[in-house]
Symmetry: C2
Subunit: 610 residues, 2 copies
């Protein structure tokens, strides 16, 4: 079906098409008169989807829209200080072709007016076997994501109509802003203006700026973020000639127009917009280009004030780890310790982005925890973006907690490597590395083990629960338990042994006497996931009874394992020889099964988010 | 423990304190010489937390920092057009007290220079029994969240040193920008400049602007978002006198300084920053104030380009509804239909904010679904902010889907009323209202029912399953089933009857013959949640066997319900009279219990997010 965004752009095009007025640029090669009715709008997202309506793929001259890209290239080549010495960053309030330099410094006010753009063009040199013009065109091509070229026929007419720019170049040379041949600077500048682009190209060039300098389709980082920040700042105040203040007020997006009929606007972080419509107003801006930017800014709320991140707390929830017990089944004694001390380990669930507001809320939540909380688990799996501040502040939290004998634990998921902190505490000495887990389950298990260690019920892998003391059988008389035990097979397994495999037929009820086993299932994505870990005194294998006698999970030994198995054959014998005891057994197993059902139901009630 | 943000501000204060240079403003009441060493920094979040270091609570004169707030008041009073007629929005590049008006229009270039501020002051009238000055001071007070006042002694010296402003006021009068008594405009302006504020006040005033005009602590909407957008736009280009371009490039936050030593900067959507330090540079900006803003912008990445929302896709996942089956237990026939046609209903899980990028990704995901998908569930519960575009586009999606006989279903949670759309399709006629659910479960149940309706297995509440055909007993011989049935009690319930209540002792195994019952549990937050819905042929009540014989859930009739109950007494009799049949019964119940365990385990594997 057609996207409503496409629909919106179509109705916008139809609306703005009705706008009359303005004259196309009169300098063009013979026979290439611009058509005042040509009109196209393209919108490119930061992941490279381009919506286009109208004339999207017809080439025209980039003209002044080249200026921000060449400015960025010069900044990247020479650094900010060297470029700032030649060209200032102040809005000029001057028409694009006015001859004016700052009275004191002789510097052009900014790189968006012709004087500044000529100065920038004079700085860009060839290199690596490529001429200056080649490097410029290559840079634009990397922004557009395709090979662009400069039109010789456009250049030929431009140079014949360049008296003012000629004068400007020599004026700049006279005050030593241009330090080499001014006619070469002029030529390079006019060649950059003659680069042929489409509306779609411009949208992708804008989206690359919106995307922090990385071309959305190719993934290539064309400019560093510092350069992008500077280029967009200057576009914000000086991109649209003498309407700087009105532009910021009414549109609020960094933008640049060109007399070729193109207009480009950038919504940082989100999208690039491009318009092609040749009729120009008295300032040299495209009449329909301006109106389209105004309309899109308003309709799509792209003004920098509205498009600002809403400073929402990143802390979704703070809870005791007992809300998300690990899947290690604990003994009663252990469960009691975890219940008593469970509030000393807290999970802080973090979501959204960690720029200022998010980071501040996270830091506040941790800082305000009672001192008695010794383990702080930051669950960062739902964080999708984080700045330098977040890393710095998480390091600060870790240092402060460590100094008080407390511990920070991070859960990052698979995709948050930028947040993984191994803090080098600097002046305060090296802090211990922060435990980092991909999943919350492992982090909780880590905290549970540490709590058990700290508060008196350390985990004992050597614990032994004779089958006659198995909780599953505790409703039976001792003599009955002894009789059942006598019917069982005694088995031993090594670490990693597969004891039961998914798909096998019911193989009896398995009682764990010592050691641990992992229960592994396959989820619908085909991934093998650990369902739980069972220890001494627990049972497994009986689940096959519920599923057409087929094993639904795989059970694997963790370390050495000792088990007692009541085989199907033994059960059959028992049912024939001693139906009363068999009845006891089934009642016991039913209760045990329902304890499990109850446990799962209660877990479901806890996690019931829907 | 101390917040790392507090730590950061303390080290910043110590660093910047070392910066020398500048002279405090020399106009002050006798004996109230500013102390050049006074230095404070306050940072206020959009939820009202204020971090402060240094001199945070000492009063000083607001001076020119009053200008944006009075400008906003005039915009709110008269509308944009009337104010724009008097004052332009262009950066001036002029020092704050320069006498210059635009050559053509006579308008002051913007409201941040004295000429513009005088023109604004002349427009603000009294009303509602309050003088103009009273209204101005009240507005500032609402921003600060406490009662501020204008200092008479400061005003008295200001008016004696107001020759330039005096001249300006009369010049503005001569060109009819000031239309009433210019000496009254001057007096009001100087009284507004004499309002006494603290660094903390300024931080909260800035945070109010950052928060779209709503004071973070009082919750009062002082300015509308349109006014805030305009005020911040003008502050961005003209707030810091003749450094507009450099300010945008190096700091990139709307800001305003005052000769009283205050500086205020706004990070839209996130925070307000205020600095107090009296020594001023040649432009009248606080030396330490400027440096603090530069440092904070860089360290906390508050430049508007970096602080921009990252345009992340809002679509977290797209899945068939079978991934999240409703808690209505379906018959085998129904389950088959749902399995066959389940891919015709999809859940799109949406997260983050729905401004441009988020909305676009959502719209794209829906638009690209195959035409065969007839139900599209938008799960919007994790959306925390949405703009006009999102509402408009969701309406557009709904219209397009409806036109093709498809349906949009919204899940909003409790807190997303702004997204609830009852689209009035306008020119295309009224569309059907969109089904809106708070929880995903209800939405999925709605889709399941609609799929069953559409694809041939409509739900029959009148279906009847005699207890002898109960699936739980299907391993037993028919004769045995008949004998069990003969031991049972036949019971009938009305809609809403509580059949079993949490905490009751084991009351027997209940077989549903016809009708439905809801199983209700209490989650740890004390909320009652529906665990599942059971229908004819299913059993309940046996779970109490797993939990010390106590009922853990409440069962409630939905409509009329017919059940057969095997009471504890009947079970006891059976075990004594016919242990072999009792054994059969227990085996059957064990299998049934393990089927449930298996089902929960498989659901857990599906949902295993950790």
């Amino acid at each position: 079906m057609e996207s409503p965004i496409q629909e919106y752009l179509e109705s916008l095009l139809a609306d703005v098409q009705r706008l009359r007025g303005g004259e196309p640029y009169q300098v063009h090669p013979p026979g290439r008169e611009p058509n005042p009715e040509d009109f196209g709008i393209c919108l490119a997202t930061v992941d490279g989807r381009v919506y286009s309506v109208g004339v999207a793929d017809q080439e025209f001259s980039i003209q002044s829209i080249s200026k921000p890209f060449s400015y960025g290239l010069a900044l990247a080549d020479y650094g900010f200080d060297a470029v700032d010495e030649k060209v200032d960053v102040e809005p000029s309030g001057d028409p694009f072709n006015q001859i004016s330099l700052a009275p004191v410094t002789g510097r052009p006010p900014n790189a968006m007016v012709n004087a500044g753009a000529l100065a920038v063009a004079s700085m860009i040199r060839g290199g690596g076997g490529r001429s200056a013009v080649r490097r410029i065109v290559d840079t634009y091509s990397r922004f557009a994501g395709r090979d662009l070229s400069s039109s010789r026929s456009v250049f030929d007419v431009e140079i014949r109509h360049s008296d003012r720019n000629h004068a400007l170049a020599y004026l700049l040379s006279s005050v030593e802003v241009i330090e080499n041949d001014p006619s070469r600077a002029l030529e390079n500048y006019l060649r950059q203006c003659s680069v042929q682009v489409t509306c779609r190209d411009l949208a992708l060039m804008a989206a690359t700026l919106a995307n922090g300098g990385t071309q959305p389709v190719s993934g290539e980082q064309v400019f560093e973020i510092d350069v992008v920040e500077r280029v967009l700042s200057v576009m914000m105040t000086s991109g649209m000639y003498d309407d700087a203040g009105a532009w910021v007020s009414s549109v609020g997006m960094p933008a640049k127009s060109g007399v070729g009929g193109g207009t480009l606007a950038v919504l940082p972080g989100q999208a690039g917009l491009a318009v092609f419509s040749p009729p120009l107003d008295g300032h040299g801006n495209s009449v329909r280009g301006l109106e389209t930017c105004r309309r899109v800014s308003k309709d799509m709320e792209m003004h920098f004030v509205r498009a600002a991140r809403s400073g929402r707390s990143a802390v979704k929830d703070t809870m005791e780890i007992s809300r998300f017990p690990s899947r290690v089944r604990r003994t009663e004694e252990e469960a009691e310790v975890l219940e008593r001390y469970g509030d000393r380990a807290r999970i802080i669930e973090v979501t959204g982005d960690l720029f200022f507001a998010g980071t501040e809320s996270l830091v506040r939540a941790v800082s305000e925890l009672e001192d008695g909380v010794v383990f702080v688990v930051l669950d960062l799996r739902q964080v999708y973006d984080a700045g330098r501040l977040a890393r710095q502040m998480i390091t600060g939290l870790q240092r402060q907690l460590a100094a008080a004998g407390r511990e920070l634990v991070l859960v990052t998921g698979e995709e948050a490597p930028a947040l993984i902190v191994h803090p080098d505490a600097g002046p305060h000495g090296h802090a211990a590395p922060v435990p980092v887990f991909q999943g919350l389950g492992e982090a909780v298990e880590y905290c549970e083990d540490a709590l058990l260690e700290r508060y008196g019920a350390p985990i004992s892998a050597t614990e032994r629960v004779p089958v006659t003391e198995s909780p599953a059988l505790d409703l039976l008389e001792e003599a009955d338990r002894e009789r059942l035990a006598a019917l069982m097979e005694h088995r031993f397994h090594e670490d990693g042994d597969v004891i039961r495999r998914v798909g096998q037929r019911f193989g009896g009820v398995h009682f764990i006497v010592s050691g641990q086993i992992n229960t592994i299932a396959t989820n619908p994505l085909g991934e093998r996931v650990r369902l739980n870990t069972l220890g001494a005194g627990m049972t497994f294998g009986e689940l096959a009874l519920g599923t057409a006698d087929r094993q639904e999970t795989t059970e694997k030994a963790v370390g050495e394992v000792e088990i007692m198995v009541l085989t199907p054959e033994a059960i059959e014998v028992l049912e024939q020889d001693d139906p009363a005891l068999a009845l006891q057994l089934w009642r016991a197993l039913t209760r045990d099964a329902y304890s499990l059902v109850d446990r799962y139901l209660r877990e479901a009630a806890v996690r019931l988010t829907y």
